[in-house]
Subunit: 235 residues, 4 copies
């Protein structure tokens, strides 16, 4: 019996295991969709009731899955405190905790339900590649993230110097200028703050010429680490 | 006779075949241009009449081309149900269907005429390379598209948490926040929605630092698959 | 005498030739700066007089340079009709033509003076590399520019379909929608036009996911062609 | 005694040297944070007093560090006029100068304190890699920066020609148009200025198609130089 359940619950190439994994993944997605719909303001009471029912079904299935995983694992404590074991617990805990505590705190608990998204990691190759790539390039990314931060800071100081007098409402302090620096150097450019003085515009030009290359570096390192990670697997 | 028509209609290096292909391509472009002009509001009746005439000429030529292709193909049914056969049919069908049905539905049918653009695929090397590149990198692109989707979703949840109270009209639900997440992580940054709270801005900073690298990955995979596809051809 | 002038006027490693080239380049830049200042509205009469004098000095030097180049070239007609010969002529011609014609047309002639910028090509390594890189990758760039154009067109048609009813003032025809498609797919995102319907936003999401990769391809091809062009030179 | 201080102050793998470096780095960051907070308008007098105290502590430690570095160096004058020696001096000089001069000029002096950020260069691997990468690719970057500048200038002239009449307040001269060209070609796109005429929009399309590839080149050269610089170190 135990070995049969194990063959279903654990990831392998058998048909039953695949169906089980697919059902769990679909339930995770369903759970995330209901979470998103709940945030829409002014929902009808019957919609809220339906969403509540779906939530209960999801939690019941995830609880059964969690208990089965404990049951089939040889070293039960090891599983409970493993990465996946903790995520499985975090995915159902908020629901059970919400019975014992005040309704006011429920709002924050709702967000904890997002840990269910991490449950997908167990089944997803891309996430495994991604985690590996980050661990490969960790040091390099940190190093150049540091240069990026210095550049963003210096840009903020510079634009504060040029624009503070002309636009005291937008560039009131270096912290406000940092927002401009981030949005400009990533080329997002919302248009909520932008320089209007000649000095500020010339400074923006130089910062962009230098900055685009620097901000792109951590991105480039991550991308190349990922490619290497995939190629290794293929070999 | 049949073999002569075949040598003209089918793609090969003969002069006649090239002229035939060029005429069809020019008619496709002409057909697309008239389609675009038709969308301009308040056209003069005589302009509409001229556009209608061009449309009729295009459809007649495409119909003759379609019939010739059926005529010269050895396995006629195979051609009719092939990719190019269906596109050739879709390019002329809306015109003939518009006689038999109510005028109200014409609007939607108009858009079906855009399938003519796909007729260009037969003649265009770039499109063939492109289709091949996608089939090479299909699995990888899907994997990282999935991570991109998770990142966009988590960004939307995060910004909803930070900005919902301050800007309930822009970040009213997670679905509204998703729009912000897409426009920000692709660095389009229209400026219709942007965070105004300190928490939301710091969150945006972290999301951009992490996100730009991730969103660039499917793009990078497609580009490198294309380069490989072109290099293979050259060998 | 002729061989001495030749050694000065033509590009080589001698000191005199370098100084001559430097003076011409500085005069080109000076000429461009005066051209830019002339566009500022409401200039003082004395500023206009100074700019006019600088312009006359530049033209005199460029005319002498042009005549010297004809004098030192062995096949004079070949030089006059060569790429650089024509540019040298175009750089001075507008000035002399402006005496014989009506003052109204002067405005358009002013822009012809920008050909002087092309004179820099003679002295600039980067421009030579750049021209070579384009000729290497010409075919590939054209092929993928074609796909980019199709994608931009299809995006415009799609957004027209979704947004035309909701925002008839911004998406009045496919030509207006094309502007949106260009600004969105290049991630410039001015924010003058953007979708507001749910359908239009979902469509934008898919177009961005597919489009960013495609629009980046011609860019990538040009960059890699340039790198190859530089590396070849180094060998 | 001197050799003991030397082993602490200079960068090496001993524990004491690491702690010393860490304390200095933390003080630099603290000094930068207080500098940023000082720019917030309408601070309470007690906050200003606390920031002033932190500033004094930082300067005292940096002064001691500077004197120790002079003491332990064998060729004292060489250190004083070395890159790091001058930075260490610049980091403390503004504080001491502010006693002797008028309070009005203090504002400009404040910014000189940012040189402290450069003190981090001594301890930071990424900055060393970065400086090296720039020196490797210096010539290439300059060459293509030049093409980028020409492209930005030509874009500005073109848009001035198309938009000046329609929007004289936004495109009043070529200098105003240059701002548009920079913000558009880097894809920042604030949305403060954008073309509204059909000609200007078509021109923008062509400029973007050509320009994105060109503006990306110096960025690409810097990135690849950095990768090479890191790989060399690893070997």
């Amino acid at each position: 019996m135990k070995s049969y359940i194990k063959s279903v619950v654990e990831i392998n190439d058998s048909k039953k295991s695949r169906y089980f994994a697919l059902i769990i993944q679909l339930l995770i997605l369903l759970s995330i969709v209901t979470f998103s719909i709940e945030t829409i303001p002014d929902l009808k009471p019957q919609t809220i009731a339906i969403l509540g029912s779906i939530e209960i079904i999801c939690v019941i299935v995830f609880t059964i899955e969690y208990l089965l995983r404990i049951y089939v694992s040889d070293k039960k404590l090891n599983f409970v405190f493993s990465f996946y074991g903790l995520i499985d617990l975090l995915a159902i805990l908020p629901f059970y905790l919400s019975f014992g505590i005040d309704l006011r705190s429920l709002r924050a608990l709702r967000f904890v339900r997002l840990f269910r998204l991490l449950k997908l990691a167990r089944y997803n190759k891309a996430i495994r590649h991604f985690t590996k790539a980050i661990s490969i390039a960790k040091e390099e990314i940190l190093l150049f993230l540091f240069i990026t931060l210095i550049l963003i800071y210096l840009s903020a100081v510079g634009i504060y110097y040029f624009e503070n007098e002309a636009q005291p409402e937008h560039f009131s302090s270096i912290f406000d200028s940092l927002w401009w620096a981030i949005i400009t150097l990533t080329t997002v450019g919302y248009g909520d703050v932008y320089p209007i003085t000649a000095g500020g515009r010339i400074f923006t030009f130089f910062i962009l010429m230098i900055g685009l290359g620097i901000v792109a570096i951590p991105t480039g390192i991550l991308s190349s680490a990922l490619t290497r990670s995939i190629e290794k697997k293929e070999e």
